[in-house]
Symmetry: C2
Subunit: 238 residues, 2 copies
């Protein structure tokens, strides 16, 4: 368990959209300058340390968030108190889409690394989306992306042996990037993502290291043996 940090503490000012390097990649790429002006001064920036919650299930939910840097986990809890991580969000991803429907958040969103986000009022985005086809389309695309992710977690990360799941998770983390990985999740989080216990996650990672499938080249810098991991992921050899 980590310290609780309220969003208020994390406020780091009004957003500096004009110079934002993500400007073209994010939700508002297609927004006319006029519309964007309406939105702009409603946007706030926040910086979260690792372990801080961006929002929690019970929260009201009247803001969307786009991630500038960092990684967050989306967590749901079961009746017995155990947790399951249902998705991971990283830079340019949008969180809290459910706020557009006035639903209140469906997960806890918790930073896994130092993270910066922009906060947008849901009402305003919903309004703009109503008569702006490009934003409308962009919102649908975000929803679809989240859905595809969710499906992939089911088929790839909740099926097969522990070796397969861990291998698939590692491969998914580097994806298009090359074979280097800057940070590994805690064993506990890995377990919660893969439906395994902390011990099994630990054992499997340790085994991969021993077999040279995962080499720590520098502190917090890992190199993956992608071909062999891929073979394991597909049900191949040990």
């Amino acid at each position: 368990m980590s310290k609780i940090i309220s969003l208020r503490d994390a406020w780091s000012g009004a957003a500096d959209c004009d110079s934002c390097s993500l400007r073209d990649g994010v939700l508002f790429a297609g927004l006319a300058e006029a519309d964007f002006g309406r939105l702009h001064d409603q946007i706030d920036q926040f910086a979260l340390p690792a372990g801080a919650a961006l929002y929690r299930v019970k929260d009201g939910g009247d803001h969307l968030f786009t991630i500038r840097v960092g990684v967050l986990k989306l967590v749901q809890y079961l009746a017995d108190g155990s947790q399951r991580i249902v998705r991971i969000a990283r830079e340019t991803d949008v969180l809290g889409l459910e706020a557009l429907l006035g639903e209140g958040y469906h997960h806890d969103a918790i930073a896994l690394q130092p993270t910066e986000v922009c906060r947008l009022p849901a009402r305003l985005v919903a309004e703009l989306g109503r008569d702006n086809p490009l934003l409308h389309r962009e919102l649908m695309a975000r929803w679809q992306r989240a859905l595809s992710e969710a499906d992939a977690w089911l088929t790839e990360l909740s099926t097969g042996s522990s070796r397969q799941r861990v291998a698939r998770l590692l491969l998914r983390l580097v994806r298009d990037r090359d074979a280097r990985l800057s940070q590994l999740f805690s064993r506990e989080d890995m377990g919660a993502m893969l439906g395994l216990t902390t011990e099994t996650a630990s054992r499997t990672i340790a085994e991969f290291k021993r077999q040279g499938l995962l080499v720590e080249t520098e502190p917090n810098g890992f190199l993956l043996d992608i071909p062999n991991l891929r073979q394991i992921a597909d049900g191949g050899a040990r």
Copy 2:
């Protein structure tokens, strides 16, 4: 494996929307009569026997579907050929939302029971959605519903012991309805939904029957002992 039935074979005419009992519940509840007219004569109806595919992953994907009666499974396949059922769709649900983004379908959609659907051209729905706020909102709500379902499958149906998973599946099938259940899935499908083997699904169902948690009152009519199933689902006693 079941016979392959092409959608062409299943065509059963232009849709009779005016008398459709679902008219108020579906996507177009908020559509003005004029707009709806544009859409209406583009809609076709299909009837699928159990086992037939509504669409497959490879298919182009330029139609949405709304389900009038029946149940479908959405299936994804892994590299090793095994299948995982990622969602179930029933009356009033909308399938193929991804077609709105021109993406091609992401699953195989296969009827589990005799099923009737209406088919809508994706392009037209996308157009209407662009300048119709109510439809726009309705589409977002559908996407969100699918996403919530996907998350629930992860936390409820892919976590815990086989007894817990089967119990949660049964409870989910009756949901708001009362304790009666008209049809049970095949053991194979249950396994694919829960990440279990066919044998384990069979054993667990058989055990529930022996314990009176699941009573077959008539052919294809089951009664659930909801309180006790709920206790099992939450990690309670055997």
